[in-house]
């Protein structure tokens, strides 16, 4: 009888421990380290450009500047770190510091700490992504999305002597490439990388809509505009439809992942590659067998327009064990010259910090990209990048993914421009 009781007691204890274990898994935020240090969890994400070695070295440099912090590195399971943060937050495990998440939603529900303008003295565009006037993310990095990277050899073979400046010239270039047997535009977006098909539309929305009205999306958020009700937006979509109809975009390429799309361009399977300004990092460090040029997506009148996203920095949880220390560490991480140089070399970042100069050894594609961006800044010709916006004037959560799927319908001919615009309006309404 005694043995049975012991057995029962043991079974009960094991069950209780198992349930307790399930309740508390991972919930160790804020533990004090061995030397009275505050342990802060830091969510990173890894890409071919931003690998584990990059993050480890960058963390070590920031930690050396801020004593009393012990960083526990977390790695998001995919590039979609925002969804991962949502999952962690749901189970009460929101990281203390997070790299490059979309702050929309987190900010409005008071889950993030705010940065003061004084803390952002060194930043060029401190107010670029404010939500309700508050800064929730360090805007340290600008990415042009997209620019058009092109294969100079294929241009030359098709008799094209210079990159196009107007949209008519761009169509002419596409036609010459097609006639020469070259696929004009390499586009991907297969599998989980659906986002990669957005860039022609991001470009045409910048040239047809945002150039004329930089506050267009704020108007849409306020209900003063709709996608289908705006002829400029429909025209922007129609341009993408026309490119596909004329055979300048190969729909079969839609099955390619982001990595395979870049590989296709590198292997000469197309002459033009609309992509973000992170591409020069790999284009310069691992040169393909041809020269790469770059130009901004052309406008009808030939004026310069460069869509860009600025932000991408660290955010701090409002529930971090020591919010001020976490912010201090985040600022140290984000302003460290070696860290910035590393991300410029590794990811082609255009640093949005005053007095920062990129390493002199940067390659020609990066320098050409930066030159076009700098010229656009001088001409006040930088717009936001459609579907990449952050801050008050941004798409509701989930709508960018829907838009990317809708673009596939445009390219395969399943939706007209008007139907696509109506689709976006309908999906927006569902988020209310």
């Amino acid at each position: 009888m005694m043995d049975r009781r012991r057995l029962l007691a043991a079974g009960g204890v094991v069950t209780a421990l198992a349930l307790l274990g399930a309740c508390t898994a991972g919930g160790d935020n804020g533990a004090k380290g061995g030397n009275g240090e505050v342990e802060l969890s830091f969510l990173t994400f890894e890409t071919p450009n931003l690998n584990a070695a990059y993050w480890d070295a960058a963390i070590a440099r920031a930690s050396a500047k801020v004593p009393g912090v012990k960083i526990k590195k977390l790695v998001a399971p995919s590039a979609d770190r925002t969804s991962y943060v949502k999952q962690l937050d749901t189970s009460g495990q929101m990281p203390d510091i997070m790299a490059a998440i979309s702050v929309s939603g987190f900010a409005q529900s008071d889950k993030l700490a705010t940065f003061t303008p004084t803390e952002l003295n060194e930043f060029v565009w401190p107010y670029v992504n404010t939500i309700g006037g508050e800064i929730y993310q360090l805007p340290y990095n600008t990415q042009t999305i997209p620019m058009v990277y092109y294969n100079k050899d294929q241009f030359a073979k098709a008799g094209i002597t210079a990159p196009p400046k107007t949209y008519a010239e761009f169509l002419d270039v596409c036609e010459k490439l097609k006639a020469a047997g070259t696929n004009p535009i390499v586009l991907g977006g297969g599998g989980k990388d659906t986002w990669a098909d957005m860039y022609p539309l991001t470009a045409t929305v910048a040239t047809e809509v945002y150039k004329g009205n930089p506050e267009w999306l704020a108007d849409r958020v306020a209900g003063r505009k709709t996608f289908a009700g705006d002829p400029g937006f429909v025209k922007a979509v129609q341009k993408v439809v026309d490119l596909a109809k004329k055979g300048y975009i190969d729909p079969v390429g839609l099955s390619r992942s982001y990595a395979d799309t870049e590989k296709a361009f590198r292997e000469g399977k197309g002459a033009m590659y609309p992509m973000g300004s992170w591409f020069p990092a790999s284009a310069d460090s691992d040169k393909p067998g041809f020269e790469i040029g770059v130009f901004a997506w052309p406008t009808d009148d030939g004026s310069l327009v460069v869509p860009a996203y600025t932000g991408g920095g660290l955010s701090v949880s409002a529930k971090a064990p020591d919010v001020e220390l976490a912010k201090k560490w985040a600022l140290a991480f984000q302003t460290d010259k070696s860290n910035l140089d590393a991300i410029v070399k590794g990811d082609g970042a255009i640093i949005a910090l005053k007095n920062y100069q990129p390493p002199t050894e940067m390659g020609p594609v990066y320098k050409a990209t930066l030159a076009i961006y700098d010229e656009a800044v001088r001409q006040n010709a930088v717009t936001t990048a459609f579907s990449q916006e952050n801050g008050d004037a941004s798409l509701p959560p989930g709508l960018a993914d829907k838009a990317a799927l809708g673009v596939q319908d445009l390219i395969t001919g399943k939706k007209t421009a008007v139907e696509f615009a109506e689709f976006l309006d309908a999906e927006w309404a569902k988020t209310k």
Partner: protein
């Protein structure tokens, strides 16, 4: 004349050795032992089941009756509003249709191919043992691994189309990029993965068919078709039930293949399934109330369909 009963009726015959009455304390001890055994072995499982299955279902049902959005508090009770919206949402009907198509195609195809393969492998010898292992391998792989492998094969620059181009096909099909084809490509990938499961179940059933039935049928002049129709197929009914119900349930909730291979595309909702839509709406779009309603509909749908199919197939087992 009076009949003489030589033996008392069996029903009233006293037992030769009446069972000895067990001491009361022994019976109480057995009852206590039964409760103890249940507590030891049953209760932890029940508590765990309740904790990880029943409680989350209850929470989902509750959320489905609210407008819960973790980023837009406060949460309000909206009653059946989420369900009413589903009824008029073409997007929901599209993902439901996709899910039903995938379920039906995969269940039928995996059963048919699995049965054919099992019949071919129902022989003795090392080669057949090896082939059984080969066919079962995809079953033990995770859906993500299978998806990555097939994605490499089926993309435009993948193994299959490169081979077809090498054979002179100028424009091979866009297995994953053609909106009219992608859903059936997904069906094939899932079928491929599940064939091995069906093969194993059918092989086990085939090995339980008595050989003398075939011998008797041969004596009666039955050929292979008649033997299959009148002996094999009826006796495989329990295996068909297991395969069909398991495939139906596992296919209806498919998420990983869709996420990795097509992300619901190409295009809006072309290959989205209910489980995929729940994740997209709940975790990406933050509409937890709406996503919970979809999840509850999915749960009820699977439970009802699985029960009906199970009953129908079990009835066939009895009659066959």
């Amino acid at each position: 004349m009076t009949a003489t009963r030589t033996h008392p009726p069996a029903a009233t015959a006293p037992p030769l050795e009446p069972p000895a009455a067990r001491p009361p304390h022994r019976r109480a001890g057995r009852r206590v032992g039964g409760v103890g055994t249940f507590t030891l072995f049953g209760l932890p499982s029940l508590v765990l089941y309740g904790y990880v299955v029943l409680v989350p279902i209850g929470i989902s049902v509750y959320h489905s009756l609210t407008n819960r959005n973790p980023f837009r508090p406060p949460t309000r009770w909206v009653g059946l509003d989420n369900y009413q919206k589903l009824l008029v949402d073409p997007g929901f009907w599209k993902v439901l249709t996709n899910t039903i198509v995938i379920t039906v195609v995969v269940t039928i195809a995996a059963n048919a191919i699995g049965l054919a393969v099992a019949l071919l492998l129902d022989r003795r010898g090392w080669l057949y043992n090896l082939l059984r292992g080969v066919f079962f391998t995809p079953v033990v792989l995770s859906g993500v691994v299978v998806s990555v492998i097939w994605q490499a094969v089926l993309t435009d620059d993948g193994l299959l189309n490169s081979t077809l181009r090498g054979l002179g096909v100028e424009r091979p099909p866009g297995w994953l990029s053609d909106p009219d084809l992608a859903l059936y490509t997904l069906c094939w990938i899932m079928t491929w993965q599940m064939i091995g499961f069906c093969v194993v179940v059918y092989l086990a059933a085939l090995q339980g068919v008595p050989a003398d039935l075939y011998e008797a049928a041969a004596v009666d002049g039955a050929g292979p078709v008649e033997k299959f129709r009148h002996i094999t197929w009826p006796l495989l009914a329990p295996a068909l039930t297991i395969n069909t119900v398991m495939l139906l349930i596992s296919t209806f909730k498919v998420y990983d293949h869709v996420q990795v291979i097509t992300n619901g595309g190409p295009g809006d909702g072309t290959t989205s399934t209910i489980a995929f839509d729940v994740i997209q709406t709940g975790l990406i779009g933050n509409r937890v109330g709406h996503a919970s309603a979809v999840a509850v509909v999915m749960l009820v749908f699977v439970a009802v369909v699985a029960t009906i199919v199970l009953r129908l197939l079990q009835r066939r087992e009895v009659t066959s």
